[in-house]
């Protein structure tokens, strides 16, 4: 490998065999990335590109020769000589069970790909019966900007890490409690206005399940008017300050309905502040009809 100035880079590489094929990747590359990253065929739920993987959901498990247990592909780096299998009866069994465990305990209706994976792995979340314990949490609506519906939460830890040391450094939310009772929570579950929340919305950005959602989106979904097929996405640059964060405006029926930032933006990595994230009302302050 060479660098821009033409000298040999010191990036070491490692060679491994994945599903019978020899691959050579930069040292530190995860098994998932060596396989092509998200969307390569290995299911992922708790993984997101902008957060260091906590490998908490265990749906992306693969077999690594010599390992007693399966291994999380989203976080395990490829090492020299590693022999990896990404599909087997044993792997499929674990993936199916994880899909069932989550599907039977939280609402995955807004989580991407779940239906397709349930079919692919033969997962049937209903087989645990109607008495199966669920994460029953009321939707928390305590401010005008976003809602929290932890009955959809898979505890991927991404919002905690986005709010904490990986991005926002606000540390407003963390995991409280233990085991099945563990929940993302402010201290003593105080409302967001009573917490240190700065409404950057970086937690919403990383949430893979719709547990955290713009109030605008939530209200429209409740009213049955949310329709992604009628939405367009417009990339622009935030005009509030000189940083120049990349914004993606999600527009439906000529109105901005939510704001994200591209996860691969070199400026934001998906993160914004309250102005870029929520300060869009002035852009659509239309004169009233009369």
């Amino acid at each position: 490998m060479t660098t821009i100035d033409g000298t040999a880079s010191d990036t070491a590489t490692v060679e491994a065999i994945i599903d019978g094929v020899t691959v050579r990747v930069a040292e530190g590359t995860t098994i998932l990335d060596a396989c092509g990253g998200r969307g390569c065929g290995i299911p992922t739920l708790c993984y997101g590109e902008t957060i260091t993987p906590r490998n908490a959901c265990r749906v992306c498990m693969v077999e690594v020769e010599g390992s007693r247990t399966l291994v999380p592909s989203c976080s395990r780096p490829v090492t020299e000589g590693m022999v990896v299998t990404t599909r087997s009866e044993r792997i499929d069994h674990s993936r199916r069970m994880v899909l069932e465990f989550l599907g039977s305990s939280v609402d995955l209706s807004l989580t991407d790909h779940v239906e397709e994976w349930n079919t692919e792995y033969g997962a049937d979340p209903t087989r645990y019966g109607s008495e199966a314990a669920r994460v029953d949490e009321p939707v928390r609506i305590d401010n005008d900007l976003y809602i929290r519906d932890y009955s959809k939460c898979i505890l991927c830890y991404q919002c905690v890490d986005a709010c904490g040391e990986q991005w926002q450094n606000s540390f407003v939310i963390d995991i409280a409690g233990r085991g099945f009772d563990a929940r993302v929570s402010t201290e003593h579950d105080v409302s967001l206005p009573d917490s240190g929340c700065v409404y950057c919305g970086n937690c919403i950005q990383v949430c893979p399940t719709g547990a955290l959602m713009f109030t605008s989106e939530y209200t429209m979904r409740q009213a049955g008017t949310w329709d992604e097929s009628r939405q367009t996405q417009v990339d622009t640059v935030c005009g509030y300050c000189g940083v120049g964060c990349n914004l993606t405006l999600h527009v439906q029926d000529d109105s901005i309905v939510k704001v994200t930032s591209p996860a691969d933006s070199g400026i934001t990595s998906g993160n914004l502040c309250v102005k870029g994230r929520f300060g869009f009302q002035h852009a659509q302050n239309r004169p009233s009809a009369d």
Binding site: R54, N55, A56, C57, R58, V59, M61, T69, L70, S75, R90, H93, S94, M97, V98, F101, L102, S104, S105, R127, Y128, G129, E131, A132, A133, I154, L155, G164, N169, S170, F171, V172, I173, D174, I175, A176, G177, R178, G179, F180, D181, A182, S185, T186, E187, H188, D194, S195, G196, C197, V198
Partner: protein, 547 residues
């Protein structure tokens, strides 16, 4: 971090509790950058602060959490996250002194209460490590907690090595320990040097007694040769595996031997401060060990001059904190969630630095290996249940199950053997046909069993084995840290399936249990989830319980 304004300040008693650990607060702190660094460098004092609040006031209030957050330069949500992780802490008002009544396996088999029948004033507790006294209860909290009952060894034999000082005089009498040859192994270890110590330990064949059976010499050598310093030694005394009370017995009866063992281990790996992570419920062991540590400091055997010191960190009611990486998070002041491996503790452990974690019994083998060149061919077994003399027994590895039960006086009058839980709730069940089984990990593994932490819980015809399985399932559900899906949800689904089978309504549930077991074993992050189905599967397969 945003400043959060709240109206209720911490009470004087709460401030005093926190100051008993952190010292008086300095007004400059939090305002200048260097001081902020100092404040945040105290995060490892969070657990002691929470203990101080919980012991003195009985619970941890919202204003106390806010105040602690300010004192430690953390956010209230982070402090609350940690406080809510531990079973011994309460976030709602209660009296400082609480009665903890065991609802676990040996105690319910002995007629103790279940989670439903326990006195509502009392706190239902997982195994208290007093299974030889079943049914057991202890008192925790307040300024001067009444020491819990002592756990006793039984059937001490002439040739006992590990138990040789148990029950022999005052355990904190340093002169008696010295007169009995105490600290001569440490002297010999100094002559041997790190490599010499490790060779001797390797030659003894010593493997971990905490459950995983890893060769001790290999662990130490891996830490010793790490370039990053400092190196850490943690003695794992969290002993929470249901049915286990050997480490408690050792610490309560022979604390100087543990100190000497740790001093030798620290020489081997190159460490200056050893930590004992002691189960929060073990108040008597805490008192004994801290007295012994103090006396060693006064005698110059520990402390600056000795080049090595020992600190006790008190756990707070979380089985998972005995897992070797969860221990690091717990000591550092974070939630006791296991970390990913790799990296392994020998390269990145406590504070990200090379660390050896060893069980109490493992360490206690070391002095006789060094001083007398002994083989590590003996183990401690925790006998409880339907035997005449429950207690800790030292026996050669490979003793048969039947011979061990005989050493505990045999079965109680009128008892017929029904089942033996071997190795703990994370272990498995042997049956009446298994009395000739040699208790040796390699041999047991062939039949799908393990010695685990040395649990031998004997059940007779009066014990409701279905109820035992229910409790095992509930134990893992309670103790799961909740980090990963297979364990967080799998332990709940496992318990539900057992409840259905117990009430005779779940035909398909046996295969469901197998499905759940497979995913927990294969896909959980740590040993808790990976073993949470072991005992249940073994009872189903080997004993036909639930079928």
């Amino acid at each position: 971090m945003e400043a959060i304004k709240r109206t209720t300040p911490a009470s004087d008693a709460e401030r005093e509790a926190i100051e008993s650990v952190l010292g008086p607060s300095d007004d400059r702190l939090g305002r200048d950058a260097v001081a902020g660094h100092v404040v945040r460098g105290q995060r490892h004092l969070l657990l002691p602060c929470l203990h101080a609040l919980n012991d003195r006031i009985g619970w941890i209030s919202s204003p106390a959490i806010d105040h602690l957050a300010t004192r430690l330069g953390a956010s209230p949500a982070e402090i609350h996250a940690v406080a809510s992780f531990y079973g011994l802490f309460s976030l709602s008002p209660r009296e400082p002194v609480q009665r903890h009544v065991c609802i676990d396996l040996a105690c319910r088999a002995a007629g103790g209460p279940t989670e439903h029948s326990v006195d509502h004033e009392a706190h239902p507790a997982p195994c208290l490590g007093l299974c030889d006294r079943a049914p057991a209860a202890i008192t925790i909290g307040g300024h001067d907690p009444e020491p819990d009952p002592a756990s006793a060894a039984v059937d001490r034999a002439e040739d006992d090595v590990l138990l040789r000082r148990v029950g022999a005089g005052d355990p904190v009498d340093l002169d008696a320990y010295l007169a009995d040859g105490g600290f001569s192994a440490l002297e010999r270890a100094r002559d041997l040097g790190p490599e010499g110590i490790i060779s001797a330990v390797e030659a003894s064949g010593l493997t971990g007694r905490g459950g995983a059976g890893f060769p001790t010499a290999r662990k130490w050598d891996a830490v010793r040769t790490q370039p990053v310093t400092p190196h850490h030694l943690i003695c794992n005394a969290d002993e929470s595996e249901p049915g286990t009370f050997k480490d408690r017995t050792l610490i309560e009866n022979d604390p100087y031997a543990l100190i000497e063992s740790m001093a030798i281990a620290s020489l081997a790996i190159g460490c200056e401060l050893g930590r004992v992570y002691l189960r929060g419920e073990y108040l008597r062991a805490h008192l004994t060990l801290s007295t012994a540590i103090e006396r060693c400091r006064s005698a110059g055997l520990l402390g600056a001059l000795a080049g090595f010191d020992i600190e006790i960190i008190r756990g707070a009611g979380a089985y998972i904190c005995g897992e070797e990486t969860a221990i690091f998070n717990s000591i550092e002041g974070y939630r006791g969630e296991p970390r990913n491996k790799p990296p392994f503790p020998f390269e990145s452990g406590l504070f990200g630095e090379p660390t050896a974690v060893n069980n109490v019994e493992t360490l206690m083998n070391v002095p006789s290996i060094i001083a007398e060149g002994r083989q590590a061919d003996r183990r401690l077994f925790c006998l409880s249940g339907a035997v005449r003399r429950p207690g800790v027994i030292e026996a050669p590895i490979g003793i048969t199950l039947g011979a061990l039960i005989e050493r505990a006086g045999g079965l109680r009058e009128g008892s017929e053997l029904r089942a033996v839980m071997l190795g703990g709730a994370a272990g498995g069940f042997a049956g009446p046909a298994d009395l000739d089984l040699p208790l040796d990990d390699a041999r047991l593994r062939e039949v799908g069993l393990t010695l685990g932490s040395g649990v031998v819980m004997v059940h007779d015809q009066h014990v409701d084995l279905v109820d035992q399985l229910r409790r095992i399932a509930a134990f893992f559900r309670d103790e799961s840290c909740g980090q990963c899906v297979p364990c967080r949800v799998g332990t709940v689904r496992q318990e539900e399936a057992i409840e259905r089978l117990a009430s005779g309504t779940g035909e398909a549930d046996l295969s469901l249990l197998r499905d759940i077991a497979g995913a927990m074993r294969d896909a959980s992050i740590c040993g808790l989830g990976q073993t949470a189905a072991n005992a249940i599967q073994s009872a189903v397969v080997r004993l036909g319980v639930l079928t």
